[in-house]
Symmetry: C2
Subunit: 401 residues, 2 copies
Amino acid sequence: MKSFDEALSFLLAKATVTPHTESVVCAQARGRVLANPVISSVNVPPYDNSQMDGYAIDVMDLTHEKVFDVSQRIPAGSLPTPLKIGTVARIFTGAPIPESANAVIMQEQTETLGDKVKIDDKTARPGQNIRRKGEDIAIGDEILAKGHRLRAQDLGYISSIGIKEVEVYRPLKIAIFSTGDELLEPGQTPEPAKIFNSNRYLLSGAIPQLGFELIDMGRVEDDFDATLSALKKAEKQADVVMTTGGVSVGEEDHVKSAVEALGSLTLWQVKMKPGKPLAFGKVGETPFIGLPGNPVSAFSAFYLFARPFLLKMQGMANFCLQPYWLAADFNWTKPSFRREFVRVKRVNDSDTKQTRLALFSHQGSGVLTSTVWADGFAVIPEDTVVNQGDLVAFYPFNDMI
Amino acid sequence: MKSFDEALSFLLAKATVTPHTESVVCAQARGRVLANPVISSVNVPPYDNSQMDGYAIDVMDLTHEKVFDVSQRIPAGSLPTPLKIGTVARIFTGAPIPESANAVIMQEQTETLGDKVKIDDKTARPGQNIRRKGEDIAIGDEILAKGHRLRAQDLGYISSIGIKEVEVYRPLKIAIFSTGDELLEPGQTPEPAKIFNSNRYLLSGAIPQLGFELIDMGRVEDDFDATLSALKKAEKQADVVMTTGGVSVGEEDHVKSAVEALGSLTLWQVKMKPGKPLAFGKVGETPFIGLPGNPVSAFSAFYLFARPFLLKMQGMANFCLQPYWLAADFNWTKPSFRREFVRVKRVNDSDTKQTRLALFSHQGSGVLTSTVWADGFAVIPEDTVVNQGDLVAFYPFNDMI
């Protein structure tokens, strides 16, 4: 048996970044991973500009005057002339500061007197309400690193320096199929001794959400030739082949022998719960991941093993999850030699300002009830007892997508 | 000025759930919001079944025997016959338990002796390694409530009870445009006194990610007639019209008057930072949200106001965010009458098992650097000083998508 960390390290060592990149316009780039750093060729702001609507002024003038002529009007997007000595300029948010002005007075602190404006402010300081040229981003700055996965704010950020397109990795193509003669597809009539396929639909949600392209090959019967032919077909189209079921030590599992016939396979019992049996190998030159058939194990193995493997192949730099250390609102009295990934929900006590973790009551279940109820995994380390109030590592499901 | 809570309550009171629903297959339903509860018409498991590969047995027999005939073989998906007294059945994970058997012995704890199997286990108990019929889900159970937004695990869960399609709300159509003559589009040549449009690309990432359909109308010039015509066009196609910029108290903003000409508008100064000016109204009968033009304010106002408003309209039940209470790794010495949503990053100290919040150094910036650097918002309540180690409410960006 491999420890969780050994299994994950082994897997990640096998993940090589896809060589395929493409250029994509920012408006379409959310979720994509940068294949090059983003370097600024401009200053942001490009010029000193006003943070608010008001009046541009030389603060020195305020020491001896209160009522000023308004010598020009500077809307956003216009080009000002230098400020006439002893006057102010009407200015709007985002508009460039005229030469010779060194501060902006908020319009709420002024009073209009016909053509003139009264400003009674002895506290105004040079630089006040002005955003400086290059203050946020200077020419040559790397604003986003290679390997960064683009979120909405990143797209806004890139656009703010005038960049329209980015070089990103082409999304990985992941071919999936389920095995198991006991499987029915949803919509079919229930039959005795059959269960509905759920892993296929879990993955048809999870894989595209992570930005990968799904090649859904459906269900393959528990038969060596059928499995062999499905693997060959998958390997031709996909960057990674993934199956659920068919990799336990049971005799009815043909996935293992079919993968071995076409490449190689390592089958592990990982010291973790749920998600124990995991298979990794190659079909031809294409990486193969065999997830367990049990839905909760498949869910766990997908998010804890396949996710980092796939994101590393996709070129993402920071695919490792950082836990929140939060107080357990439960007791875990039966230590196990396996690392346990228990399903928990965050519970807030607003009086004490504490965020605690409540445990799902039925951790042993094979169905996804626990993953639907929960907000994330809490980790019970090997051979460890947890008492109420102990800090445990919490991995929110929202951080895994 | 309205407080943050008053502004949010006012806004949410105006959000009415879209009447439009449609039926969607589970494989395509991720991110969609349920318009009906999901009720189970089956038991899960449908029959008592084995949790592992091994031997089905009546544990009573173990008190006087160690070596057993294997009287049948039950792969997953097959139909067993009742267990012959005094024998065991070879059984595989997921396969139905035969009548008269009451436990499964793990194959790792057995030894094959030719045709027979040796089981030396006095500790086996009835029910061991068996998942009971209906143990997880019983016929008639509501497994997911109306208003639930579907994640990958939910799709697996729904599929596990044989349901192929779900009734969900049709995605809201959100029309957006930006105003401001100072705006250039990314890819254009920089010009003095102009800045690149970033809000358009922020929203073109953020809106589809939340499951809405984006109608991107681009940039509209700072002109009353152009704004009026854009609003009319948007209102015809969309469920919600959203703009960025053009709703400050400055004279150059035409959005306010154009919206008023076609419907009604309320313009607020909200006691929050960033994201102060916010406009809400109607264009005809279509809700209108005017976000601030400043990118950080637009980001904040979108996720803190528009997001809950839109998700409520979309039919989602639990759109309110729950904070994590975490220790500040900074001092906030200047209390403000405004509630401040500062951009922070989680920092873990694995020795002390503490998750703390580090503050972005330049909160005043108008560009998105802070939102790109940060993991989320920490809330500094009105008139409050925060000392290092104090617990503050943290809202991860990952929870807002």
